[in-house]
Amino acid sequence: MVESTFPLAGLVPCIQRSQPDAIIRIGPTPQSLPNARKRGVCFEARDGELLIWKQGVARFFVSEGREITVEPAETAPVSEIQRLLLSSPIGALLLQRRWLPLQASAISHRQGAVLFVAGPCLGKSTLAMACQSHGMDLLADDLSTLRLDANGRWLVTPNCPAIKLWPSSMRRFGLDPEGFPKVRSELEKRVVACPDRFEQRPQPLTAIYFLRRHDLAEGTRLLTCMPASEGVGLLLNHTYRFPFAVGLGVHANLFRQAAALSQSIRLMHATEPLKGFRVSELVREILEDLEP
């Protein structure tokens, strides 16, 4: 739960008033972070602090897993600042809190939360969308967050009630892209809001499917088991903004989390064939796989 003086349209408002996990406020940000451990093109990070900026839009200062300061550029549209805020700055905040943010979409199944982990543009949002059309609710798109609860269970935290899709994917679901807002005005990628098909409560994790594209003969199963040893590397590779973790000095914690997670959760490869769109078949196999 975050408390924000910056407008955050599209998120689920909190009904119960309690202590927020983090605060988002508007204010000045540092010009730079002296002694940064990691510097990227648009970010600097050191223990407990990350500064990230987008020229002409905003600067964001993320500190101690508790606070994000937003310094908007003069003429920047609020929607663009919000879009950025909910990506890398939030990812940094989660890393600072020692949670495990992954490049993954997440859906809620009656067995628990299911993650679809993949790099950019590999179909995780499309698969989440397909699962929704099979009656499951969305937990997160693009950035999914895991944390351990007091009983040692891995929980997946809900994110935004929306899925971002390219027009080609939307048409596969019979959606006309023209009827949906663009992620940003210069791009064709669209935002498909799904407030009615969104799970608002954290869900215990039950399985992780790592998406990949390969050629497969017709009739070949799209799901294959994965050894835990392979899972550790894949989880680390798909940690949301791993270079941030190095800069923040929390990467050793990520190794431990990835190792623990891969030992305790069912890990599978899910293959999207290079030829032919078989997402319905993939969802069917996932549903079969999830049944006890």
Binding site: G40, I52, C121, L122, W166, S168, R213, P273, L274, K275
Partner: protein, 279 residues
């Protein structure tokens, strides 16, 4: 020594083979490294680019990605050496002549050149086009490997074949070792050793021999059959044939003439001009 060693080539010219040999050479594994575990990632790999920038390229404009391109290379250049990166981009933008590669981030380049007649045949098979389209592509000064919104890699600007070759091997101030694909096939040990020594690697010949054995065409073909190849973006096989001389056999006389007509100067330079065109 700091800086990126570019593994550069026009597509379908043996770049993946070079990376396979290099990965096996630098590995201590007792067996062949899987082609899906190749190091020396492409500059066009989104996840790599995103990590260096801090923002998602999939939600960025071409203008933004273009603006970040050289600074991203500076970030890579600061990694622990040796830093190898694969690229298919032309060295300078054909219209603006602006460099697409940062001089200060670049240590040197290994550039692979392959007979464009064979490249055309490989293109045809790889991308499922006909010969006419393949020839048109490698003669096109605006040719690019485009990402269409939801495709995985970032777009790569190629230009036509000879502009691509010249852009790398004639770039003033760039240390470049040009090797021919045909020599990689005929004299692998000597050719790869020349390239790797140029890149500053201390070479153990017995390890190079082992790396070549682990990277043999049959080995990678078998790996692709068994596990697929993650860098392949179509249903067609990536490791297809790799034969030298297929262009002259499989292209029509008109298609050969179209390629030679466009690229004769550079083809002559590398000994690719068919005898019936040589004067």
């Amino acid at each position: 020594m700091r800086g990126i060693i570019w593994l550069a080539s026009y597509p379908r010219s043996g770049n993946t083979w070079l990376r396979t040999v290099l990965t096996n050479l630098l590995s201590t594994s007792a067996g062949p490294i899987d082609v899906n575990q190749l190091e020396m990632e492409s500059l066009a790999l989104r996840s790599l680019f995103d990590g260096a920038v801090g923002w998602e390229t999939s939600e960025s404009t071409d203008e933004e990605i273009g603006r970040w391109r050289l600074p991203v290379q500076e970030i890579f250049a600061g990694e622990a050496p040796p830093v190898f990166k694969k690229t298919h981009d032309v060295f300078r933008h054909p219209l603006t002549q602006a460099p697409l590669f940062s001089p200060s981030a670049t240590r040197c380049a290994i550039y692979i050149v392959r007979n464009p007649l064979d490249v055309a045949v490989s293109f045809k098979a790889r991308f499922g086009t006909d010969s006419v389209e393949a020839v048109r592509f490698i003669n096109d000064p605006n040719a690019a490997l485009e990402a269409h919104g939801d495709d995985l890699p970032l777009p790569e600007l190629l230009s036509d074949w000879s502009t691509h070759v010249r852009s790398w091997i004639d770039e003033p101030g760039l240390r470049v070792c040009a090797i021919r694909y045909e020599d990689m096939k005929i004299r692998p040990e000597e050719t790869f050793a020349t390239a790797f020594r140029f890149a500053g690697l201390t070479l153990d010949v017995s390890r190079l021999r082992k790396a070549l054995e682990f990277s043999a065409f049959e080995v990678v073909q078998q790996q692709e059959r068994r596990h697929g190849f993650s860098e392949r973006m179509s249903a067609r096989r990536f490791f297809r044939e790799g034969r030298v001389g297929s262009g002259k056999e499989l292209l029509s006389e008109i298609e050969v003439a179209q390629i030679v007509g466009k690229h004769a100067d550079v083809m002559r330079r590398f000994g690719y001009l068919p005898t019936d065109f040589a004067r």
